[in-house]
């Protein structure tokens, strides 16, 4: 597998969207290519950082209450 091909498939790999065979090919390339391994690490970190930062949002208590009251009307 070439570096170009790996970069094309990198996010499919990170997101678990590849077949087991394709995953093995990517892993084999990453085991031998420091450059691609570094890019993989950065992209993985990017995804994890975004997801983690977005999770820190609290639901306002009044919203929960509003919805409960609205559902009572049914």
């Amino acid at each position: 597998m070439s570096c170009e091909h790996l970069i094309e498939k990198l996010y499919l790999f990170i997101d678990g969207e590849l077949s087991p065979e394709e995953e093995c090919e990517i892993e084999a390339h990453l085991a031998e290519c420091v450059q691609c391994l570094r890019i993989y690490g950065l992209e993985l970190q990017f995804k994890r950082t975004i997801i983690q930062k977005l999770k820190c949002e609290e639901v306002p208590a009044r919203l929960m209450e509003r919805i409960r009251i609205a559902l009572e009307a049914f």
Partner: protein, 179 residues
């Protein structure tokens, strides 16, 4: 429907829907870009989902189903009313995207990330938010009623736009702190 059945239905709905409220709320917040609209969107989603609960097939993904309800409300009602501040040509925006190596993830500020996401064009923002909530590409395609290729392309562009935006925000912060 008898009163007993109706109560059972409500109980089951609440059991399935309430645990998803934090996910729905944070997605709504980034979609609508303000708290009041986000709360209305989530409330409308709950009420509409409850109204059409009989159409939900138990055993399939309730999470995907209720996100689809919210997506439809957002696209059909909120998006039409809202003015989209993003009028920058996408291709212009993508030119000169920096190497992600230069991103300083550990120093990214929560508000910068939220702002960068809120500035994404609607369809990219919606696709990306569903992605951050753990939906597979196939599920996102089903929720947004599009195909896999479009989902992949929107995700790719959303990532590039975000990385570009965050890189520039971070660079500006570093420059200001060095003054």
């Amino acid at each position: 429907m008898s009163k007993g059945n109706s109560e059972e239905k409500k109980e089951l709905f609440e059991k399935q829907a309430f645990p998803l409220m934090p996910m729905l709320y944070r997605t709504a917040l980034r979609l609508t870009r303000n708290q009041a609209d986000a709360e209305d969107l989530v409330q409308n989603t709950f009420l509409r989902a409850f109204n059409f609960y009989d159409k939900f097939t138990q055993g399939t993904s309730f999470k995907a189903w209720i996100f689809k309800v919210m997506t439809n409300i957002f696209i059909n009602e909120y998006r039409k009313q809202a003015k989209d501040p993003q009028k920058v040509s996408l291709e212009d925006y993508l030119v000169g995207t920096p190497d992600p190596e230069h991103l300083f993830f550990e120093n990214l500020v929560d508000e910068d990330i939220k702002r960068a996401i809120e500035e994404l064009p609607d369809q990219y923002r919606l696709t990306f938010l569903l992605y951050t909530e753990g939906f597979s590409y196939k599920e996102i395609a089903s929720i947004t009623e599009t195909n896999l290729g479009t989902v992949m392309s929107r995700l790719h562009r959303a990532r590039r736009l975000l990385q570009d935006k965050l890189y520039h925000l971070r660079k500006r912060e570093v420059q200001v702190s060095e003054l």
